[in-house]
Amino acid sequence: MLYPLDPIYVCERCFGPLEVVYDYEALAAQPLRSVFASGPRSIWRYEPLLPVDRIAEIDLQPGWSPLVHSQRLGRALGLRQLYIKNDSVNPTWSFKDRVVGVAIAAARRFGFEVVACASTGNLAHAVAAHAARAGLRACVFIPKGLERGKVVATAAYGPTIVEVEGNYDEVNRLCAEIAEEHRWAFVNVNLRPYYSEGGKTLGFEVAEQLGWRAPDHVVVPVASGSLLVKIHKGLQELQRTGVIPDLRTRVHGAQAAGCAPVAAAFAEGREEIHPVKPNTIARSLAIGAPADGRYVLRLARDTGGRVLAVTDEEIVEGIRLLAETEGIFTETAGGVTIGVLRALAGQDAFAPDDVVVAYVTGIGLKTLEAVETRLTPPITIRPALREFERAVLELVG
């Protein structure tokens, strides 16, 4: 059933999600590679495949983050063509700037005055920043007890922050109910069909940065599952419009063992997702009832990918491994991605020359609590050469 571009998010008949569709035939007739190349160095270079137009005066220019050929980490894992998509390089240091950039443009288009969200932290941060830039009021809902860095960073933009006494899934349920009764732009509820389309740009960019080809594998963190699904949708759209020649990407999902409803269903061969109560340091992935979980399962199975989970200990090891080999300090979700990347390599899921892209979607500075007690603390010395030689020289080597 087709609906007009309105602030609606589910089918009236079956409650199923609404997907934005484009006139792919007309798009395929355009020289899309050069259209994209002549666009801004942000998500908006892909405007023909986004559901709303860029509004220049409110644009915070999210996207066009580095794709890093990760040779040191690759050597550690036996991969010659490993790339990290470092999406901590964004206006609020996570991939959420992409989805919010699109959602805020939609909110303006539909005439909303208040933007809101249910968030595990990064989204609240992005909504607060983009709303400030757009001159809209922001009200963000988060579970109580999030990492301090995420809450303080969000507060800097002056939104109303509502801490809910419950987990993310309870925050999400509350927001879905509020969105029914109040005309607010909940970016991940009533604007979700627009918001989620922003995730496609992580597929578009990687293909462009690889010289217009799809990678052989992607490894993507899974919270609601939307990002993984949209990265693949982006690659599919490039193929459908003739921008890339073919698409054989295996899609792998990464979850934390303390919140792994999709990985559990994958391991057990189930179709349905059984929700869980999250208990993990990867709070940005702590969604126990993931809306897109079934689509992640289907995609992983259909493309020959896998959905795996790693323990909190392995998450911290992943954070350290990425930092120590590539100089990229990621948050816990990135630790999950690297942990699962390593597990996949250990299972021989990759051939040595496969092009593998791992998505690092947020910065480590926002989740210091997760690692600070597990890192080597500084050495304190008096300002004396002898002291330096006694206490430091041997350590550095």
Partner: protein
């Protein structure tokens, strides 16, 4: 009688009422009573096999019934039941 919060896509069936009241000792019985009052609503909530539709979440007193007993979840006379589209968040 329990109170049921009705989401927008179902309000055409409830004459635009946002909340309605229904009787039943369990969620199954409650849905049957809803169907008696608002014909056609049951098939929008429950599939042919008697399971809650994939894109619908039901909460009894703020708890997701998937953590309780699904449609066999007991419903007290003062219970608040919410029917909510599942495709939100993330």
């Amino acid at each position: 009688m329990a109170t049921i919060r009705i989401p927008t896509p179902l309000r055409k069936l409830t004459a635009d009422q946002r909340t309605v009241r229904a009787d039943g000792g369990t969620l199954v019985e409650l849905v049957e009573d809803l169907e008696r009052q608002f014909p056609g609503i049951k098939s929008r909530i429950v599939d042919g096999d008697g399971n809650v539709h994939a894109f619908v979440n039901i909460f009894v007193d703020d708890e997701d019934v998937r953590f309780l007993q699904g449609l066999r979840t007991p419903v007290g006379p003062e219970a608040e039941v919410a029917i909510i589209p599942a495709m939100a968040g993330g």
